[in-house]
């Protein structure tokens, strides 16, 4: 049932957004402001990804932010793609992108950083 989907997505957009305030803001404040890119390197990442708490946190962030963002992009693109067919294609494309990129992110999260592979 397509219509049902739009309605659920509308609510999901709002709830996920609210959830993202603590999740995304804390992440951004911590990494970009408090720690800062100059203090971040692969070892820093490795330490963090060894901690289950941080992995779960990053999982949540990945799941919610990315789903929220991709659905938002779908809405934006529907403004410009008006045919039923075009919209189906866009939806499929975004769905695939979402799955693939999420998968890549998820594998990396579980696998953790592998600084030992650096050869120089």
């Amino acid at each position: 049932m397509k219509p049902r989907f739009e309605a659920i997505a509308w609510r999901a957009m709002r709830y996920s957004g609210i959830l993202l305030i603590p999740l995304a803001w804390f992440h951004v404040y911590l990494q970009d402001v408090i720690v800062g890119v100059h203090a971040i390197d692969i070892n820093y990442v490795a330490v963090r990804l060894a901690n289950t708490g941080w992995v779960v946190y990053n999982f949540l962030l990945l799941a919610f932010a990315f789903a929220h963002g991709m659905y938002g992009l779908r809405q934006v693109s529907f403004d410009f793609v008006r045919s039923e067919r075009g919209r189906r294609n866009v939806s499929i494309l975004l769905l695939v992108l979402w799955l693939v990129i999420s998968l890549i992110g998820a594998i990396a999260l579980i696998g953790g950083a592998r600084p030992e592979l650096i050869t120089h």
Binding site: A7, W10, F80, R82, R87
Partner: protein
């Protein structure tokens, strides 16, 4: 006061197939309506200038246009409200046919698509009125005021891009029946409005509410319909 009036012109029949502007300097009273200025130009300067109008006091919905970049009724805005440099353009998002005249058919089609009429064939046995309490009546009072001027729909950024979107005016008119205690087709209307071109296209840009000359709380009405759908 002297008004510097800039008017959008388009009339392929008369060789003006690229939209352009004509300018006029007009002596006007601060209390003149912008519609009066257009009438002045049409009557005294250039009879080919075309626009729709009828009631001249904001109740028939004929003359929504973009005045200084914002949708208004030309008959409900005075010179002193917009200053002495005035630019008049057709509303956005509907095909322009001639000068200020746009093709209203898509707009009325969207309106017709939401079942804008009462569905209920049961009448009291004594042939008298169906009862409705003042509170039930008040519930949908705001959205009964719509004059279908299209100022809202053509101010909506989503509608500019997506003509599949039914637009705020249609939703306002659906709202008027969805919340009427006498109506029996609320479910069907909600179903239509939960589809791709329905309420969930609205991004709460709020231009519609700002543009409505009847001061209808358009965005609120849309939100109420969204809530009715998502339960």
């Amino acid at each position: 006061m002297l008004v510097y009036l800039k008017i959008f012109r388009y009339n392929p029949e008369a060789g003006r197939s690229t939209p352009s502007f004509d300018t006029y300097n007009i002596e006007a009273q601060p209390t003149d309506r912008v519609l009066d200025l257009l009438e002045h130009v049409k009557g005294h300067v250039d009879g080919t200038l075309s626009f729709r109008r009828s009631c001249a006091h904001g109740v028939c919905g004929s003359d929504a246009m973009r005045i200084n970049g914002r949708n208004m009724l030309a008959c409900k805005v005075l010179v002193k409200d917009v200053g002495n440099e005035i630019t008049v353009e057709p509303i956005l998002g509907l095909p322009v046919l001639k000068d200020m005249i746009v093709d209203m058919e898509p707009f009325f089609d969207s309106y017709k698509a939401v079942m804008p009429y009462l569905v209920n064939d049961e009448v009291p046995a004594d042939g008298k009125e169906r009862l409705q309490s003042p509170e039930q009546r008040e519930r949908f009072d705001d959205t009964t005021k719509c004059i279908m001027c299209a100022a809202c729909t053509t101010s909506c950024p989503v509608y500019w891009a997506d003509d599949q979107y039914v637009g705020p005016a249609a939703i306002v008119n659906a709202h008027r029946f969805i919340f009427d205690s006498r109506d029996q087709a609320g479910g069907e209307r909600l179903k239509i409005l939960s589809d791709h071109g329905g309420v969930f296209r609205c991004r709460t840009a709020f231009n519609c509410t700002e543009a409505c000359p009847r001061e209808i709380h358009v965005t609120q009405a849309i939100a109420e319909v969204k809530q009715a759908i998502t339960g």
